[in-house]
Symmetry: C2
Subunit: 320 residues, 2 copies
């Protein structure tokens, strides 16, 4: 459900998976509903058309997992998740706020949890970030540690390697004023960093009682080409977002995310201050959109075997 | 159970964990049984003495997890595992061959599986290697990939940073003849590399039908000091062990483990050839003994909530 850029990547990944059978596609957008999925994806994808409603796409089938990629904000997608549960489906979503919904929307989380229990099915949200590189992978790595004193994760993405939509979403090309105006409108910025912080804390056994988040622009120090558009010197090249988790005023978790066109030294680094200390590096960084699609597809068989309810990626096992 | 070097590390880690309560210690060795655990560990560890039998240590308590570190070879420890199950206990073991026992001992695996089902408890083997850096972490990382074409993991350990027992176990100080004599007696070499290979294949969805393993000495190119003893130029400094998994004659999984005094560039590297490709590096490498102890202790609360039976680390969730 949801055949935007990520949804199409998910459909392609599902078609290539030996564990999944793609049985339908849903998008209520008039530009997509009614079209053949094959035509939209540009690869053979069966003969079915994109449905405008979930019940039409699924029919009376049992054991269906909804691969859901319609939005980042939980209030906007909750009804879709509840509808899927009422149809007896499992849900694997990319909705960033659903990755740890208790943080911002305890009421909606409770509603989804109850509906999933009633349906006897499982709901989870995953993706590369939130869902993997700044939380699930960190928690996995923390298994080798005793008590954790502090964890820091930095992710630097050169937005030129990503689609134009993402370059726009991090503010590339804007003036400083335009950037902060869009921040106020929540039109610029990465959704889910504070959810990753909460997941990190939980996964490492850290009792954070306070969370803070800050978003600042990164400016182009010279004209930057190579992206979807030229970013002039002095304009915003992207964003630097920091979320921290604190316990009794002391920082325990620090996640730093930089996404900017022309960002230096792209890559992911995890540093756990513990006994033993751990430092892990992924030069270049884990790829974004395709990795998200694979995480969704690889999670699907696992949720069908999981306990019913609203889970987090911290509950997923290591293996396919 | 088992208060050798690793067992003592596990006891220390258990004492520091907020999730576990250490209720007893078992070692039948006359040099340990009857002594106070506090005296053996050199830190406060309650008032109890090391028991010579499991039933004596556990009494009638329920919900006990046996932290088990008595040996690498499955036939040598199977009776201990079965006894724990007959007492209604869960088992988290460091026994390397128990990490994927179906590989070499399908009959013993079946016996343990049946006993665990009867007891309604869970058995798992973990540690840094096998159990984490060359299998569980690899499988976790593979969640971001589509179909995997090949995976290579290299782990290089400078044995000088490890205890003397490990330096001896990798052949440091031997002549080439002595090395291969001890290889024949299975007194030199790392146990569990082929089990890690099987876990890797399973965790990444690779159907390997053949596995091969090779062990060769690494020679000192000059006198090497800094270890527990001097290794003369020309003598064995350690070992290089390779295990591969193949599908229809084609290599799919390659694990390369080098443990030698003075080994260059210690560290762990995971390279997954897939879409997207993944390359992860842990400069210096994940520490061995303490990490193993923490992995055992962190797994203990999870097995009490797991399904009954004989599991692998691939089934463990990311979080504590």
């Amino acid at each position: 459900m949801g055949l935007g850029f990520i949804g199409q990547e998910i459909a392609r990944a599902a078609l290539q998976s030996e564990e999944l059978e793609l049985i339908g596609a849903v998008d209520k957008s008039p530009s997509l509903a009614g079209k053949k999925l094959t035509d939209v994806l540009g690869i053979p994808a069966g003969t079915f058309k994109i449905s405008s409603t979930l019940s039409q796409a699924v029919g009376r089938r049992q054991g269906v997992v909804l691969l859901h990629a319609t939005g980042s904000k939980l209030p906007q997608v909750t009804d879709q998740v509840l509808e899927a549960l009422s149809l007896g489906m499992h849900v694997v979503s990319t909705c960033e706020e659903l990755s740890f919904p208790w943080f911002n929307y305890a009421d909606l989380a409770e509603k989804i949890e109850r509906a999933a229990q009633r349906a006897g099915t499982t709901v989870i949200s995953t993706g590369i970030n939130p869902g993997f590189v700044m939380d699930r992978l960190v928690a996995t790595l923390g298994q080798v540690c005793g008590q954790v004193r502090h964890v820091k994760v930095t992710r630097v993405v050169d937005a030129r390697t990503r689609r134009e939509g993402l370059q726009r979403k991090v503010g590339a090309g804007l003036t400083e004023d335009e950037f902060f105006n869009l921040v106020d409108q929540e039109a610029v910025g990465h959704v889910g960093l504070v959810e990753s912080t909460a997941l990190c804390a939980l996964g490492l056994g850290l009792d954070c009682d306070d969370f803070e988040e800050e978003l600042t622009p990164v400016f182009a120090e010279e004209d930057i080409s190579g992206g979807a558009f030229l970013v002039k010197k002095g304009r915003v090249a992207g964003m630097h977002q920091v979320a921290v988790g604190l316990a009794e005023g002391q920082e325990k978790v620090r996640l730093e995310l930089t996404i900017a066109v022309g960002a230096d030294d792209p890559g992911d680094v995890i540093e756990i201050d513990a006994d033993p200390p751990v430092r892990l590096s992924i030069p270049g960084g884990l790829s974004g959109d395709r990795a998200t699609a694979n995480l969704v597809v690889n999670a699907a068989p696992r949720v069908t075997a999981a306990q019913p309810g609203l889970l987090t990626v911290l509950e997923l096992p290591a293996a396919r």
